[in-house]
C-alpha cells in the first residue's frame, strides 16, 4: 500500500520551526512586562503567522504534522520542557500558563459540544464551577486522595449535566439553548444564596497532593530550583495534551463523522439510522467532564473560589474563545485561550474593559467572518492507491 503517485513525503523542518516559534512566542509573551514592547511583539507574531499562511508555511506544517504525529508529540514535549526551564522561577508567569491551559482544555470540551455536535452550551463556567466546588467540599471533608477528588469534580459536573440532558434532548434550537442559559445564570444566584457553600465569600481549598507528590513544594532538579507552580503547569499541560490527542482520535474516528452529521442535519442523521440522542449525550458528557475536571484543578491551584469566578459572563468568554479559534477547530483554541487569558493580565489598562472588548471582537468576527478566525477544515478523504 503506497500513497498516490504524486505524493511525496512532507519535509519535516517546517514542523520543527513552527513548534519552536510557538514556544518562543509563548515564553516572550509571558515574560514581557513593558506594554509597548508587548504590543510590538504581538504585531510581529501576527505578521509572521500571516506570512506563514500566505507562503504555504502553514500547509507545510500541517502536512508534516499529519504524517509524523509522534515527531509532533516529541517536539511539543521538548518545547514544553524548554519553556518550563526558562520560566522556572516566574510564579506569576507559570500561574498564567496553567490558567491558559485550563481554559484551553475546557474550550476543547466546548468544541466537542458546540463545534462537533452542534449542542449549545452557555453554562461552561457553571460546569467548571461545579468541579471547583466539588473539590472544595471534598477537600474540607478530607480523607480522600486528591486523584479521586479531581476525578469526582468531573463526575459531579457530568451528573449535574445529566439532569439537564433530558430537556436538552427533548427540545431543539432556541428552546434547548434556554436550558443551559438558565442553568448558567442560576448557578451564581444559587451559590450566592447558599451559606453551606460559603455564600458570596467563597471557599478556601488546600493544594494538590498526588501519590505523595506535594504540589506546594518547589522542585529541585540538577541544581536548579523550579517554582511550585511548575507542578500545576505539568499537570494541566499533561491533561491538555491528553485531551488534544484523544479529541483528535475522536474527530478522526467514525464517531467524529457521526457527530458532524448530527450537527449538520439531525433529520438526515436519524434517517440513516444514527441514534441522534446517544451522540448528543456522549458529546455533552465529555465536554462537561472536562469542564468539571479542570474546575477542580483550578480550584486547587488558586486555593480559593467564589461565585464571581463562574458567572454567565465567564461562560460567554469561553464561548468567545471557541469562536475566536474557529468553531470546531481544536488547534485554534490554544492561541485563542492564550490571547484571551494573557492580554488582560498583561495590559492593565484593558483589564477593566476586558468584557467590553471581547464582546466587540466577537461581534466583529461574527459579522465579518462567521466561521471564526481560523475556520475548521472540511473533512477530506485521502484516497490511498492500492497497487
Amino acid at each position: 500500500m503506497s500513497a498516490l503517485p504524486s505524493h511525496k513525503p512532507a519535509r519535516v523542518w517546517p514542523l520543527i520551526v513552527a513548534v519552536a516559534f510557538a514556544a518562543a512566542s509563548l515564553t516572550t509573551l509571558v515574560l514581557i512586562e513593558n506594554q509597548k514592547l508587548l504590543g510590538l511583539t504581538l504585531a510581529g507574531i501576527a505578521a509572521l503567522c500571516f506570512a506563514a499562511a500566505r507562503f504555504g508555511g502553514v500547509a507545510a506544517t500541517e502536512a508534516a504534522a499529519s504524517e509524523n504525529p509522534w515527531l509532533l508529540r516529541g517536539l511539543v514535549l521538548i518545547a514544553a520542557m524548554a519553556v518550563l526551564f526558562v520560566l522556572r522561577d516566574d510564579n506569576f508567569g507559570l500561574l498564567m500558563v496553567a490558567t491558559v491551559l485550563i481554559y484551553a482544555t475546557v474550550c476543547i470540551g466546548l468544541t466537542i459540544q458546540m463545534g462537533y455536535t452542534g449542542l449549545t452550551n452557555f453554562a461552561a463556567a457553571a460546569f467548571v464551577g461545579t468541579g471547583g466546588y466539588t473539590a472544595a467540599m471534598l477537600g474540607q471533608k478530607g480523607g480522600l486522595p486528591d486523584i479521586v477528588v479531581l476525578i469526582s469534580g468531573g463526575l459531579i459536573a457530568v451528573f449535574i449535566g445529566s439532569l439537564l440532558i433530558l430537556p436538552v434532548l427533548r427540545t431543539r434550537g432556541h428552546y434547548a439553548a434556554l436550558t443551559t442559559l438558565a442553568f448558567g445564570v442560576m448557578f451564581t444566584v444559587f451559590l450566592d444564596a447558599n451559606e453551606l457553600l460559603g455564600g458570596p465569600q467563597g471557599l478556601k481549598i488546600p493544594g494538590i497532593n498526588l501519590f505523595g507528590w506535594d504540589f506546594s513544594d518547589d522542585l529541585h532538579i540538577a541544581g536548579y530550583t523550579f517554582s511550585f507552580y511548575v507542578n500545576y503547569v505539568i499537570l494541566t499541560g499533561a491533561v491538555t495534551a491528553l485531551t488534544m490527542v484523544l479529541t483528535g482520535l475522536l474527530d478522526r474516528s467514525w464517531i467524529g463523522v457521526w457527530l458532524d452529521v448530527v450537527r449538520l442535519d439531525e433529520t438526515a442523521a436519524s434517517v440513516f439510522g444514527l441514534k441522534v440522542g446517544r451522540w448528543k449525550v456522549l458529546a455533552f458528557t465529555l465536554g462537561n467532564f472536562l469542564a468539571g475536571l479542570m474546575g477542580a484543578i483550578y480550584a486547587k491551584m488558586t486555593g480559593f473560589i467564589a461565585p464571581s469566578n463562574f458567572t454567565f459572563g465567564d461562560s460567554l468568554v469561553m464561548v468567545s474563545i471557541v469562536i475566536l479559534g474557529g468553531i470546531g477547530n481544536r488547534w485554534g483554541v490554544l492561541p485563542a485561550a492564550l490571547i484571551v487569558v494573557l492580554l488582560p493580565e498583561k495590559l492593565q489598562f484593558i483589564q477593566e474593559y476586558r468584557l467590553l472588548l471581547y464582546a466587540l471582537v466577537v461581534i466583529v468576527i461574527l459579522v465579518v467572518q462567521p466561521d471564526g478566525l481560523v475556520a475548521r477544515r472540511v473533512r477530506t478523504l485521502r484516497m490511498e492507491a492500492r497497487s
Binding site: T120, Y358, V362, L366
Partner: protein, 303 residues
C-alpha cells in the same frame, strides 16, 4: 392572611414587567426568527435614559408630572433607536447565519451595552437610586396595604400591553408586520417594504422594553447596570413557555413566572433567596414536558 394582598400586588407588578419583556422577545422571534438576547440590556439602557431625563427635568425645576412623562418618553425614544440600530446593523446582515451565531451575537451586544453602562455612566458600577415620582401613600383593604404607585404602574403596564396588541392586530403597520412574519417573500411581492418594516418592528419591541425599564425603576426605586441580564433570561423563558412567536403565550408566560416566584416567597419565606432558582427548575421541567411551549408554535418543519 394579610400578606396575601401584598404578594398578589407584587406578583402582578413583576408579571407585568416580565410580560412586557417576553412580548418583545416573541415579536422579534415571530418576525425574524431570531432571539434578540440583548433585549434585557436594552431595557437597562431605557431605565438609565429615564433616570437621566428625570435628573435633567428636575434640575430645570419642572413639575413632577413632567419629570414622570419625560422619563417614559426618553426611555422609549432611546430604546427604539437602539433597537432599530441593532436590527439594521447587526441582525439584518446575519439573518441567514446559523441561529447559534445570531444568539451569540445578540448576547455579545447585550454584554456590550451592559459593560458600556457600567464603565461610562458616572459611578455606573454601583446601583443608582431612582427618584420616587409617584404619590407615596396607599390604602388598606382588610389587613393588606396597597401602594398607589404599584397600582398606577400595573395599570400603565397592562395598558401598554393592550396598546401593543392593538398595534399588531388592528393597524396597517401591524398587518405588514404579521405578513412579514408569515412569509417574507410573499409579503414583499405584495408591496410591503421589508427594509422599513423590520427596523420599525424592532423599534416597537424595544420601546416596550424602555417602558418596562422605567416602570422597574419607578417601582423598585433602584436600577443597576446588570439588572437586564436576569430580566432577559426570565423574559426569554416566559416567551419560550408561552411558545415563541405567540403574543398571548408570552404574556401568560410572564405572569406564570412571576406567579411561581411569588408562590415560593409566600410558601417558604426562608427560601426567598432561591425564588429564581425554583422558578427556573419548574420552567425547565415544564419545557421538558411540553418542548414547544404551552401554546404550541404553529407550522411544521421543512426538511
Amino acid at each position: 392572611m394579610g400578606t396575601i394582598g401584598q404578594h398578589l400586588l407584587n406578583g402582578m407588578m413583576q408579571g407585568t414587567i416580565y410580560g412586557l419583556v417576553a412580548m418583545g422577545f416573541t415579536i422579534f422571534f415571530g418576525v425574524m426568527n431570531v432571539i434578540k438576547f440583548s433585549h434585557g440590556d436594552v431595557l437597562t439602557v431605557g431605565a438609565f435614559a429615564a433616570l437621566v431625563a428625570v435628573w435633567a427635568t428636575s434640575a430645570l425645576g419642572m413639575p413632577v408630572y413632567v419629570q414622570f412623562i419625560a422619563a417614559f418618553i426618553a426611555a422609549m425614544i432611546l430604546t427604539a433607536v437602539v433597537g432599530a440600530g441593532i436590527s439594521h446593523f447587526l441582525i439584518m446582515p446575519l439573518r441567514n447565519a446559523p441561529p447559534l451565531n445570531m444568539l451569540l451575537m445578540t448576547m455579545m451586544v447585550g454584554t456590550l451595552l451592559r459593560e458600556a453602562i457600567r464603565l461610562f455612566f458616572p459611578n455606573g458600577t454601583n446601583p443608582q437610586r431612582f427618584p420616587e415620582l409617584l404619590p407615596a401613600g396607599g390604602f388598606s383593604l382588610g389587613r393588606s396595604f396597597f401602594r398607589f404607585d404599584a397600582l398606577i404602574l400595573i395599570v400603565a403596564g397592562v395598558a401598554s400591553i393592550g396598546v401593543v396588541y392593538w398595534i399588531i392586530n388592528r393597524t396597517k403597520f401591524g398587518l405588514a408586520m404579521r405578513a412579514v412574519a408569515e412569509d417574507v417573500e410573499t409579503a414583499r411581492t405584495m408591496g410591503i417594504n421589508f427594509a422599513r418594516v423590520i427596523p420599525l418592528t424592532f423599534a416597537l419591541g424595544s420601546l416596550t422594553a424602555g417602558f418596562a425599564g422605567t416602570i422597574y425603576g419607578l417601582y423598585y426605586s433602584e436600577i443597576n447596570y446588570g439588572m437586564g441580564l436576569l430580566l432577559a433570561v426570565i423574559g426569554f423563558t416566559a416567551a419560550i413557555v408561552g411558545g415563541l412567536g405567540n403574543i398571548w403565550g408570552a404574556i401568560i408566560g410572564g405572569y406564570l413566572f412571576a406567579g411561581l416566584q411569588t408562590l415560593v416567597v409566600a410558601a417558604m419565606p426562608s427560601m426567598s433567596d432561591y425564588k429564581n432558582v425554583f422558578a427556573f427548575v419548574l420552567i425547565i421541567v415544564l419545557i421538558t414536558w411540553r418542548p414547544t411551549g404551552l401554546l404550541a408554535e404553529r407550522g411544521s418543519e421543512r426538511v
